[in-house]
Symmetry: D2
Subunit: 365 residues, 4 copies
């Protein structure tokens, strides 16, 4: 395979380019019997929309999902589910100038090498963040399926540039607040600081990165396929498939490297008749298997590479050094729009693995 | 699949348990025509051995590799390559007591749930760090194959507990020094501090974690299969398949979340007729494709969960709370032994992807 | 996976239902740099159309292909290629009556069991022969790719019911004549007898089966991946994926069971500096690898199960015996329309394997 | 992958060469909790042994199976199951002479092209029929698993050269008689004629082919994954992976090509509260899904290519024509030894698919 499919039981194949006709997702392996309509998917897509005026790309992306196959009389049939979003409002002109001048931080240069120059470079083509809308569509299906089994997936912004969320937030605050502010932070004061951090960078023709935390609640213990298809490995793989992700950590993550075993180990107790741990430094995964505790993963995003500031680059046709100032419409920070994408990646991985171990059956009752 | 295979073109399947007959690796897809003998693999296995007296498990693991198939008259044939290491010096007694009392931080509890109690729990069974010896065997083959194409893979310890490597080290220092000290650090002064950090934890019946940095040099630009089989995603997946890994980051990694685009972007210039970047915050990968710059990845390991200190746990048969003190032979820090494993994971991922894009042919000339 | 994808290097995923919105194919792994437009695909689809008036379904299937992704400025980009055909002229009314009465010879009954009754039964849904139009679209791409490497794929009808092709036909006759008559037979006299055989069955409210022979010319020696992905096994797998196929044989096939080794072995000689065999009982494949001789495969199709004649069946809701007379529009013989489908399956399998062994590169020059 | 693995849920990977150290099989995905010991596998391997003196290879193949992993205290653990058979009594001398002179009907020539001459040609290497002993080991596990779910797999010889089984035989006769005579035919009179047919060919330095019929009883309806992983397609794929197979047909098979729909359709009735069909021309599979009726498949084997008779071939090093008389120890008819291999292929395919659809769970109760 050429890398456009992921999963073994709930398999997502995606296609389409940023400035092509459309982008689409095919899910093979969604169990039969799930009630599904376009209204289930649209709200997830809407969460990916640019939020506050002044933050995010001004491109008006009215992404309208269409389900093209796999649903009959309101229920999934067990046949492949194809969903698409048509591309509109596309202006490819600025990309012509960039054709031989790779933008620093973008895939332009290695993509040209990899595909012998045949790749569709308009709007980044297959390498555009826009492709993650296909993850979100598939994620919407996965989330609906998971809810049937009581599993909930959340995500929130915990850092934008130099501003980080310092106070603890409850699941309830995440549920309630995240999509109420343009930066997708569960705390409104921090959200305001984050918003300013983005606007400041934007005003300077620059961009900022950030960190998103994802959480999955009520995943039963024992989900995962070690050795190589361990739950964390597969989740990390899918998260690294989001453009601009440069780091992924579970539970205590990088911090655990500085910890003692006696601090880091999560000790077992019984609460309400269930085996639980007193802490959750493992982030809900041990040995590649879910422990029954919340799955917690943090995802680091680099700053948007497209910036107005002048940067050095190379004219690949003449093989000479030159400079570039990236015009066009670009988010000064993609983190807020990545929040539903992180949710989607977590949900898709969980759906895949819960079907694999048989927790979710092939036909729903 | 049940997760015991990884890769699409250079496919590793592993089998065996910590206290079973043996552990083994089958590689399907190694190109024909690679000179290969046991002496090529043994040194890599030896790098995984416990180093200094007093650091690492006292279990005498004289891992002797045997090649059982796939080599004829000194060359790989293109048929599957099976390599095994027999288990010796195994004492499973301590594990009987732990059978119903899951050790905090280990896979014991979720594994019991996942496999209905049928899993071989002796020495951790399939969940033992010992399984990574199969990665190392496969990695030795991958490294030999990569060297044919001028690609070199390195790794070194950059943190143990609270001690981190502060000074920059050159590739040459890494090549020369890493396997000269028991903690696998390229700087001898830091190495000594790290050694003490481990000994101190050990003396207290405790353990420490750490960070390993892996590097791949001379990977040509354009290697990788976006979207879902991007080079970083596949490398991260394999690294998260090493037990105890809790975080993976490429290039500037989590730090890039706090950076501006203008700082983080790696600008292009021409040096010696080749397109290179002035910095390497991307860690050699953009859009899931290699850029031609060194691939740099950091891997966070949690502290060894097996500690002598008393911890709370649960008797799963009686469903009542209890305590555990983990005896047996355990590394107070697995990081030094993980260094060759990180090398192996990087090498295996690169071999797989370089075959996939055709940079490495199916028959060597 | 749920079985809607096939191939490892040239991967076809298909979606859609007979009476749904559309049917579609996604190819992942088509090399970059292949000139491709809708006009390359349409003629192959047109070959699947009902031929002579009076033979084949009266449903007017004006299948118009649309390429939705993967092509940029007339060339494949290396990104997934999505192609669709919209469904028109659909009348699902007759299927309501059949909902609980499975048609003998159709997938109705096992599909209902497999999908818990959620499957789209209209027009056979996913089990309709219409789905093979997606094979044909993908096959058109594969054929264009193969031609670049001098490989040609042919197919022709050699039996319809009791009428079989008795005289030898040359490749040139196959090329010239097959699509000139409605039964796709290379000999015009036999074609006329076949036509009558079909009309006779149709007149009696009955149907007939037949045999299609497929041929691939100029496949270089050494293509295939034994053990389990042998070229014949993968080709047979794809051919058995055509609805109504009940047998597949290569070269002398079932006849070789009655032969002596001395008769059946194809002896080697040198002709024009190339190693060739005097006979081709192997059908161009030995040990799962192409020999360089023409690949020859024969595919047996059962008679169309949908017939007007009264048949016994069961009302699955009431669990009582009943009868059925299948109305609607049905081919009395699907063999002629299967000819381009057989070509497609052969071409797709060859493209997949030629990329796998590196004979076809990932980027065309 | 390079083709040495098959299956998606019950995945068989095999390794080893005819004249190497050993041959082995790894099963990934065997459910946990199946009682398994070497004594379960050995009888299946023994069925593959040469039967009557004077029929079959005189090579004394005392294939002793060893289980190396995946079983703990008598039960499968859910971890990969590795089983091997060591090679003994190997004389590779005759193969040196054949190195540059490909034997007609063998894989020698295409294998040399495919693997650039690096393949282990001794005894046919990976292309030897001996490799099917790994299918039989895996098949033994699959059969034991299937029996737990009441599924039984049978096979018997129905043709040897010009002698075919003419009288109907019951399942009970197959169970009782097949392994009681050296040709594996359920009828003792026909068996004697078949034996003579083989001896006659052998006496003339020649060989014969034949046909094996495989049957699976009590497979529940609805097993299979259409479109591309249909049950018949996957079973045919695995059967074509047996060396020397040239044809596969289900139910009425090639004969259905001459039939009318009204004859070929299997009409539904209710018997004992179950939906069954009056005939079974479908061979138990419709639309790629099991119907609940017996699965019936016939497999055509070509005559053994290794014969003493002089044949034309080519010296590939000098590129000149020459002749060859194949010495060494060769079966004049491999069909009897293929009977347990056909059983194995059917059982493996069914185990894989029954796990896939969830009929067999991941942990047995």
């Amino acid at each position: 395979m050429d890398g456009n499919s992921i999963g073994k039981a709930f398999v997502l194949t995606c296609f389409g380019e940023s400035h092509g006709t459309l982008i689409g997702a095919v899910i093979d392996g969604c169990p039969a019997g799930l009630p599904l309509k376009e209204e289930d998917i649209q709200p997830e897509l809407d969460k990916r929309r640019p939020g506050l005026t002044g933050i995010g790309t001004p491109r008006t992306e009215e992404d309208k999902v269409e389900i093209l196959s796999g649903v009959f009389r309101g229920y999934t049939t067990g046949a492949p589910l194809c969903m698409v979003v048509r591309n509109r409002d596309v202006d490819s002109t600025p990309y012509e100038a960039l054709k031989s001048k790779p933008r620093p931080g973008h895939a332009d240069y290695p993509a040209r090498v990899r595909y012998g120059g045949y790749n569709d470079y308009r709007g980044g083509g297959r390498f555009s963040g826009r492709i993650t809308a296909t993850y979100v569509m598939a994620g919407a299906v996965a989330k609906k399926l998971l809810r049937r089994f009581n599993v909930e997936v959340l995500a929130h912004t915990i850092r934008i540039g130099r501003v980080s969320l310092k106070k603890p937030v409850s699941y309830e605050e995440i549920r309630r607040n995240v999509y109420e502010n343009p930066v997708r932070c569960a705390d409104s004061e921090t959200a305001e600081l984050m918003r300013k951090e983005i606007l400041k960078a934007a005003a300077e023709g620059d961009s900022v990165g950030g960190i998103v935390e994802g959480i999955a609640l009520n995943v039963p213990a024992g989900v995962g396929d070690p050795i190589f298809d361990s739950l964390d490995a597969d989740m990390a793989k899918m998260l690294f498939d989001i453009p601009a992700v440069k780091g992924v950590e579970f539970g205590a993550g990088f911090k655990s490297a500085s910890m003692r075993g006696s601090e880091n180990n999560d000790q077992y107790v019984i609460r309400g008749g269930r085996v639980v741990t007193l802490t959750n430094n493992a982030g809900g995964i041990l040995g590649g298997l879910s422990t029954g505790m919340p799955i917690v993963v943090r995802v680091a995003f680099k700053p948007t590479p497209s910036i107005r500031k002048r940067q050095r680059t190379v004219n690949l046709e003449r093989m000479e050094e030159t400079v570039v100032e990236v015009g066009g419409r670009h988010d000064p920070c993609i983190v807020p729009r990545a929040v539903p994408v992180v949710e989607a990646c977590i949900a898709i991985t969980l759906a895949d693995h819960m079907i694999r171990v048989g927790v979710i059956p092939r036909v729903l009752k």
